[in-house]
């Protein structure tokens, strides 16, 4: 590419300098019709270049489209996009989560991507390309992390007002840590599990549980909050601390506007002490890591 550009630019510069009209220049330049030799050269060379590019293009395209869903070694994840958050379900492992996708390092992660509302596009720039999340059909995709780390994920297809804020994280960890996280998720079965914050738990059960499941108990309208205390961010992009969480619960539509299925604003519905207790309870929802 760069080579082609350089060749063109050399001819371009030479022509502009050499053949500009000089003061007092008279006469009429030779009216050339063309040159078959030259024309064949600059038709053939691009064809050869394109063939050279085309071969790896086709082979990589097929490699990327490989379907690992039936590969017994792959970790399967069903990705469901919502305005404006991501749901991740591990069908073989019986675990569901949202926003933070945990994966083991060095393994193929087979993804089935779909959407609940509009078209989104699943993109983790550092790990793989993108794949659209279409309502009504399922796209196969795969990715793999070769070293541990936290990778940024984004939505790449315009999906509404808060398209820019629909970030998520991919947490790649070694197999042992991943297994521990899965075990922890399975252990945290219920929102009714014993906790030090009785009031917070009560507020959650009354106001939140219908939409936000913990473990396998509760609704699936909003993100699953089983390991909310472990999350990297609040709402996919805010700092993970009590103040931001309070701001979010008070009026989510002000922060991530425009979702068709809206989380209600609880700023006026909860008493200050209830809000504090709920925030404290949520920040304490952690699984062993």
């Amino acid at each position: 590419m760069v080579f082609v550009f350089v060749v063109v630019m050399i001819i371009f510069t030479y022509v502009l300098v050499r053949y500009r009209k000089r003061p007092g220049q008279e006469g009429i330049p030779k009216q050339v019709e063309g040159s078959h030799t030259l024309e064949i050269i600059w038709t053939t060379i691009p064809i050869i270049l394109l063939i050279v590019i085309a071969i790896p293009t086709v082979s990589t395209t097929f490699a990327l489209a490989k379907n690992y869903w039936d590969d017994p070694d792959a970790i399967k994840v069903k990705v469901t996009a919502h305005q404006f958050w991501w749901e991740f379900e591990y069908p073989d492992l019986g675990v569901a989560t949202a926003q933070d996708l945990h994966i083991p390092v060095g393994k193929k992660i087979a993804l089935q991507i779909s959407s609940k509302d509009v078209i989104h596009s699943f993109w983790v720039p550092a790990l793989a390309g993108k794949m659209d999340a279409n309502p009504g059909n399922i796209n196969q995709f795969w990715l793999q992390a070769d070293k541990p780390g936290v990778f940024k994920g984004k939505c790449a297809e315009l999906c509404g007002y808060s398209h820019a804020l629909m970030d998520f994280k991919v947490i790649a960890e070694d197999q042992a840590a991943f297994d521990k996280w899965i075990a922890g998720m399975k252990a945290a079965e219920s929102a009714q599990a014993p906790t030090s914050n009785q009031l917070g738990q009560q507020v959650y059960a009354q106001n939140c549980l219908a939409c936000h499941a913990i473990g396998n108990q509760g609704g699936k309208v909003g993100p699953n909050l089983t390991d909310f205390g472990n999350r990297q961010t609040i709402a996919g992009y805010l700092d993970h601390n009590a103040d931001e969480l309070k701001r979010w619960i008070s009026n989510p539509d002000e922060i991530k506007a425009g979702a068709k299925v809206k989380m209600p604003a609880f700023g006026d519905k909860l008493k200050p002490e209830e809000m504090d207790a709920l925030v404290d309870y949520l920040m304490g929802l952690k699984v062993a890591q």
Partner: protein
Amino acid sequence: MGHSHAPKKKGLLMDYLTTVDHKKIGILYFVAGGIFFLLGGLEALLLRIQLIVPNNTFLNGATFNEIMTMHGTTMIFLAAMPLLFGLMNAVLPLQIGARDVAFPFLNSLGFWMFFFGGVLVNCSWFLGGSPDAGWTAYPPLSVSFSGFSLDFYALGLQIAGIGTLIGGINFLATIVNMRAPGMTFMRMPLFTWTSFVTSALILFAFPAVTVGLVLLSFDRLFSANFFNVANGGNEIIWQHLFWIFGHPEVYILILPAFGVISDVISTFSKKRLFGYSSMVFATVLIGFLGFMVWAHHMFTVGMGPVANALFGISTMLIAIPTGIKIFNWLFTMWGGQIRFTTANLWAVGFIPTFVIGGMTGVMLAAPAADYQYHDTYFVVAHFHYVIVGGMVFGIFSGLYYWWPKMFGRMLNETLGKWNFWFFFIGFHLTFFPQHFLGLMGMQRRIFTFFPNQGLDFGNLISTIGAFGMTIGTIIFLINIAVTNSKPKNAPADPWDGRTLEWAVPSPPPEYNFKQTPQVRGYDALWVEKMAGNKGMIPAEPLGHIHMPSGSILPFIMSVGLFIASFGLMYEKVPVAIIGALITLFCMLLRSLIDDPGYHIDPTEEKGVEA
């Protein structure tokens, strides 16, 4: 003999509302397209101001999406298309030695349809907010997840699209049937050739989007289920229909610019265009390939590797005819006497810019790589390089080149050079960094971005560049004003031109050619100059020239559709019916009342009773 009458003297407004003269319709296209271009540019500036720093709150997501959608829609449908049609109207009949286009009445109808379609889309600003689902308007976001505003998009573009289709058919018929004696296909100037191919692309591409918009409107207005997955619909159908139109649309835009560049470079190098026949061949080939590549906009939709690979390879093929063109331009200049007038500066500046845009195009054509580039600022940079760096540079070049022919005044060259350099440098500052922003992971159409991703500096530079382009555009406006205050004294042939339009006075009389010229070769005027002749040899004796009468009907017909659209949107069926009846009734009038036209005696320069 049919009754003919001399045209009555009309006021300026009435003259332009009723005109069927291609030169005046060209001016109407420039004025309307120019206003929409400024509007779209203002929208772009607002977007860049929002993105100047991370986490900016100048615009919120809702407003940003509206402005972003309207920027794309306005620039493609309401600025780029009419400005090209303006050039085609102003120049094309002159280049083939015709007195007018094949259908002067339809020409006017096409303009007014486009105009009222554009006004309808922009009415949304005042009636509850503008469309906000991107210029591509993918359902379901554009159906059940967007408000009322998308109706303006669907109906406005429908009307404007019909106008464009009418224009395309008109130019096709004009070029096939109206060429002067001796003007064979292989003697037509490149601008005429590229306009011909563009018109053919319009004819075969626009009906696809017409259907797409019909389906979208039916889903929105009548609760049909084309894109409603819950009732068996399929939202991907829209993407196919949209891009079956949308990709040829890119070539619809760029091909006439190729034509302008070819004519301008040839004139200002004082040389015949190098490899004329291969240029024609490349143009036709690009037009043809343009229809086989639409799905390269959809690599990440999940079409599977076979479709992705095929569409990827066919896209890469387009690089070959495009490369032919680039080298032909370079070798046209080779050995010439290049004059750096403003028109030629735009043409010369076009070459490296378009080469960059073309190369990123080949990069995007590889599906595996596109998985990363798709829907990022890399794509934004690419299509602005080809559309602004290609088409807009071409339009500016054409404007500086043909301005004297259109208005009888030469644009100021000093201001023109300031205009060029501000716009050129501003353009590269704006869009070059966006390649890297895309590679670093900035998705397109985001209303804000987060700090600490390495995106801050590139975005800052990009916004500064946008101001540079703005200054360039303002200088152009000043240039127009300054030029208008000067006397109307442009010579017929100010640039030592080679093609037929330079054989008639600037601006040309209503009937263009006193006597239809006899064409004796490619670069028809140049052939006569070389033969030592003063001008073209006439192909007919001097005589009365028959001209078509002006008509207000095209204007009223378009108003009718405009009214009908409001009736549909607000579910007032009688209003919709009245609007449609106005249009149908005008069609009936046009069909039943013959236009006898009138005759001009070119030796007396005024209308006479025939």
